[in-house]
């Protein structure tokens, strides 16, 4: 470790907020699963994942992120290779090939792809030597991000594929996207929506229809949205108390320990609890932006903003789904939702942030 780079340079404030958010998540996972023998001890398993995540974070933080950036081309190639391997060799579960099996462990390559795209984009955009982004550079970004998006969407896993878009958008925006180009891009996106509709699989269309018309199918995603809103609304200001939410305890909230954990939390802890949790999450995100500002170089800053945009996107889409504003997708809320690989991957990204943070005074 170079001189001046010590663990005491870690962002302790950020770590504190992260642990608080994770604690809120653990409590609610406990509450959603404690009365269901099938899910027994899920909170303990999540606790293990958080512990493992912290170790991974510290290991990644120790790494100089420049070393990682230097490996960006290989990381990119490996990621594409992995995504292709999933399509060819992947295990099919519920009609989708998303998992690779390595030594008995199933492994979701697209989860790693998010991480590698952050690194690749930070490398590419960080090395641009101009204040504004040229059309040629934009085209290169489009190709860099477009290929993995198509590969992931082909699994099919449109939700995860779409998470790459905000990473690219934030990166491009910070790297000097012209307002004029931004406007054109927005317009093209709007015009492409109907085309996108034709590319959707029937079950995906169904979800969109159900979203636009809740109550359409009693057990479909419209029903899930409805039950989620009932859970949130019936929680009222002070909540029903931990372990006492009927929507939660009687199983009306779908996947209540994972994707819909915010609905269960809002039911039992009320608006007051939501204020606390959302406050913590926003503090976390703002702290990331602060770290981007204090980063020693452009690439480091872009790494941090990449992590920021990914988490912000998850927050918006997941909570938007709980509130009934967004269609039902499998996008969890990192650090709150139950899930091993998602938790590990989040801590790995926080490790990147820490690595940048610890080297903010290092003159290269």
């Amino acid at each position: 470790m170079p001189r001046g780079v010590r663990y005491r340079e870690l962002d302790w404030f950020l770590l504190g907020v992260v642990l608080l958010v994770a604690a809120v998540g653990l409590l609610e996972i406990y509450s959603t699963t404690v009365n269901h023998p099938r899910f027994a001890n899920m909170h303990l398993r999540q606790l293990t994942w958080v512990g493992l995540g912290l170790v991974v974070m510290l290991v990644v933080a120790r790494l100089d992120y420049h070393t990682l950036l230097d490996q960006a081309p290989w990381i990119y190639v490996a990621t594409l290779g992995g995504l292709v391997a999933v399509l060819v060799l992947g295990r099919e579960i519920f009609g989708a090939r998303r998992w690779l099996e390595i030594a008995g462990y199933t492994f979701q390559v697209s989860e790693v792809a998010k991480w590698s795209i952050i690194v690749v984009l930070a490398k590419f955009l960080g090395e641009l030597r101009s204040e504004v982004l040229t059309l040629k550079d934009m085209a290169k970004v489009a190709v860099l991000v477009g290929v993995p998006i198509v590969l992931i969407a082909a699994q099919p896993d449109l939700g995860t594929a779409l998470t790459l878009v905000p990473i690219a958008a934030t990166g491009v925006f910070l790297a000097g996207l012209r307002w004029k180009h931004a406007a054109v891009l927005a317009l093209v996106a709007v015009l492409l929506l109907p085309v996108g509709w034709y590319l959707l699989k029937p079950y995906q269309r169904e979800r969109v229809v159900a979203f636009a018309n809740p109550g359409h199918s009693p057990q479909g995603s419209g029903y899930q949205t409805m039950q989620s809103k009932i859970a949130v609304g019936s929680g009222a200001f002070w909540g029903k108390g931990m372990g006492k939410g009927s929507q939660n305890q009687l199983g009306f909230i779908p996947v209540r320990h994972a994707e819909f954990i915010v609905a269960a939390y809002a039911e039992e802890q009320g608006f007051a609890g939501v204020l606390l949790a959302l406050g913590l999450y926003l503090t976390l995100l703002l702290r990331l932006l602060h770290n981007a500002e204090t980063a020693a170089d452009r690439s480091g800053a872009l790494l941090v903003t990449g992590v920021f945009s990914l988490l912000a996107f998850h927050l918006l889409v997941n909570v938007g789904m709980v509130l009934g504003w967004m269609p039902v997708t499998g996008i969890p809320l990192p650090l709150l939702s139950y899930g091993g690989s998602a938790t590990l991957s989040t801590f790995m990204m926080l490790g990147l942030v820490m690595s940048v943070r610890m080297r903010r005074f290092v003159n290269l």
């Binding site: 009687l250 452009r298 938007g320």
Partner: protein, 607 residues
């Protein structure tokens, strides 16, 4: 600025991101505020509706028993498929699957839901009753995706097989909107629609209870909240005697007509049969429209309870009334004989006797025994229509007897005043001659005839016919003053009908004092039917009547038999004999048992 140095990220854009994420945070908070503070009451109610399910507890209807406590109508527990509508989210999309799974017509299912649109949401809809094993399997297999389907324990009415007593018992069905408005029933409740089920619905029908339970998202019950116990309906005990009823059913043996037997001392109806009948079990659930149409459009009118609803000319049976009137009016106080050559001329028209060659010189006794028409033409002419109608009405003809059954018909006893009012025509004296032998514009029901004959033979004590023994009500008795000599003379003549060379010898029973009177009547003519609003079916076909009484004075049993279409009075007599025999056989064997110190075959009566 060092050209080789990396340009840093523009802090203005970083600031924009900061504002952006703050805006997202505020936006989400507003969303939570909207749900958790502004509309929290609404969602709290939905959450309650989610977790609390109200399930009805069905009350069984009361049993119907005969006078000895033998159960005639009971119920069997069955499962029915119900649809719970408290569930959040529309049901419309699930309807095709439900229709397929339960083997229901999709259109009928939709209509059924439409029917209950205005009902409160906690009230479930019965979709199918009884549920088949396949239905139960379907529901259990689809607990998760169709949690709105549930099984409900119900009690299905069970009637005797073969339409036994069908008109008497009637049937139950779901309350119609009109009944709901009139009687404050609930939508979907089973209520009596016809017969005793309808008349004594207030006794037979219980009050359903309900149970509130907490269910999970699969509709599985996890806890109980509270329950209101159902109150079962109370039983009724009828005046009917199963053995006599059975004899009556067997005597009629599926011929079109009716048999009624009653005890004129109390008005207790011992048997009541009408054919053709129907199977009330068909109505225990929703009757298919084709079957309903078949029943209502059958020209033989199987739904008609002929005992109280067939309004027919009584024919010669009416001579009982005319003879009593003549006796009371003193017509026979002086020697009164009429020569019958087989016909007579009255008011310029020829009236025939049923015996073409004539009866010769007949006195009142022989006139009744042999049913001489020519004799009664003369009696009718001397009495006049006013007096005939007055006596007929006094004896209960031409108006409902007030038996405890719904929709009893009144019949018709004509008078000049009636003809003027309804037909706007004066009375023709020739009509009096027809009425004197029970033809023309006169219509009675079998029950009215039994009531009238029983009352006259009981010296003017008319007990209103009734079917309910318990809960007990005192017999409703009306007294008409009659001279003892009139009653003696008449009942002796009626005994002669059966036991001398009369028209009713087929009703004779050894050692039993049977009296009676036959009647052969043309079905009411076209114009008469139209006058009273009926629908003409067949014209000028003859009906056979027989009124039997035993013993002849103060009878214990009066039996009226009606055989429709193409029969002659004598043909009805053996039916009455069978019913009377059944009554006496039972009575005698019970007496013999008592003498021998054996327990009675039937359970002892209460009190």
């Amino acid at each position: 600025m060092d050209l080789h140095a990396e340009p840093r990220l523009p802090s203005s854009r970083l600031a924009l991101l900061r504002y952006g994420i703050a805006a997202v945070g505020v936006l989400l908070l507003v969303g939570f505020w909207q749900l958790q503070v502004v509309r929290s009451d609404y969602y709290a109610e939905l959450a309650e509706r989610n977790r609390i399910r109200t399930l009805p507890l069905m009350a069984p209807r009361g049993l119907i028993q005969d006078r000895e406590g033998r159960t005639l109508v009971d119920h069997v527990p069955t499962f029915s498929v119900i649809l719970i509508r408290e569930h959040i989210g529309g049901i419309q999309d699930a309807l095709p699957a439900i229709a397929r799974g339960l083997n229901l017509e999709p259109a009928a299912l939709k209509a059924r839901l439409e029917e209950f649109k205005e009902a409160p949401p906690y009230q479930p809809i019965v979709l199918k009753n009884p549920a088949t094993l396949a239905d139960i399997a379907f529901i259990e297999a689809h607990r998760i995706d169709l949690p709105e389907l549930e099984l409900l324990l119900m009690y299905r009415r069970r009637y005797p097989p073969g339409g036994f007593g069908a008109h008497l018992f009637g049937y139950v069905g779901e309350a119609t909107p009109e009944e709901i408005a009139a009687e404050s029933y609930q939508l979907g409740e089973l209520v009596g629609k016809m017969g005793l089920e309808r008349h004594y619905n207030h006794i037979l029908m219980g009050a359903n209870g309900e149970r509130r339970v907490i269910v999970d998202s699969r509709g599985k019950e996890v806890d109980k909240l509270d329950q209101k116990k159902p109150v079962p309906g109370r039983p009724i005990r009828l005046t009917l005697d199963y053995d006599v009823q059975l004899a009556a059913e067997q005597a009629l043996a599926g011929r079109q007509g009716a048999v009624v037997a009653l005890d004129p001392r109390t008005g207790d109806i011992l048997a009541m049969v009408s054919h053709p009948g129907f199977d009330p079990t068909l109505f225990a659930t929703r009757i298919p429209p084709e079957q309903w149409r078949a029943l209502t459009e059958d020209p033989a009118k199987p739904l008609l309870n002929r005992v109280i609803q067939a309004q027919l000319a009584p024919g010669s049976v009416f001579k009982i009334v005319v003879a009593t009137a003549a006796l009371e009016e003193g017509l026979f106080d002086r020697p009164f004989s009429v020569y019958c050559p087989g016909w007579a001329n009255h008011y310029g028209r020829t009236f025939r006797c049923w015996v073409p060659q004539g009866h010769g010189l007949v006195n009142p006794h022989r006139a009744i025994v042999e049913s001489c028409d020519v004799f009664f033409y003369q009696v009718g002419r001397q009495l006049g229509i006013e007096r005939i109608s007055r006596y007929a009405r006094q004896f209960g003809l031409g108006s409902a007897t007030g038996v405890d059954l719904p929709a009893e018909a009144g019949g018709l006893v004509p008078s000049p005043e009636w003809k003027q009012r309804v037909q706007k025509q004066p009375w023709y004296d020739g009509e009096t001659i027809s009425v004197a032998i029970g033809q023309g514009p006169i219509m009675v029901t079998p029950l009215q005839l039994a009531y009238a004959a029983g009352g006259i033979a009981s010296s003017g004590v008319f007990a209103r016919p009734r079917l309910l023994l318990e809960p007990a009500t005192p017999p409703q008795v009306r007294r008409v003053s009659l001279k003892p000599e009139s009653v003696t003379f008449l009942t002796d003549a009626l005994w002669g009908v059966v036991n001398e060379n009369g028209t009713g010898t087929a009703a004779r029973l050894p050692e039993i004092d049977v009296a009676g009177k036959t009647g052969t009547a043309q079905l009411v003519g076209f114009d008469t039917l139209r006058r009273v609003g009926g629908r003409p079916t067949r014209t000028l076909v003859e009906n056979a009547w027989f009124v039997g009484l035993a013993p002849r004075r103060n009878p214990e049993i009066v039996v009226v038999v009606l055989l429709e279409h193409g029969e002659h009075g004598a043909a009805a007599a053996p039916l009455a004999r069978d019913v009377i025999k059944a009554y006496y056989d039972k009575k005698n064997s019970a007496g013999a048992r008592q003498l021998a110190g054996l327990p009675s075959a039937a359970p002892p009566e209460k009190n």
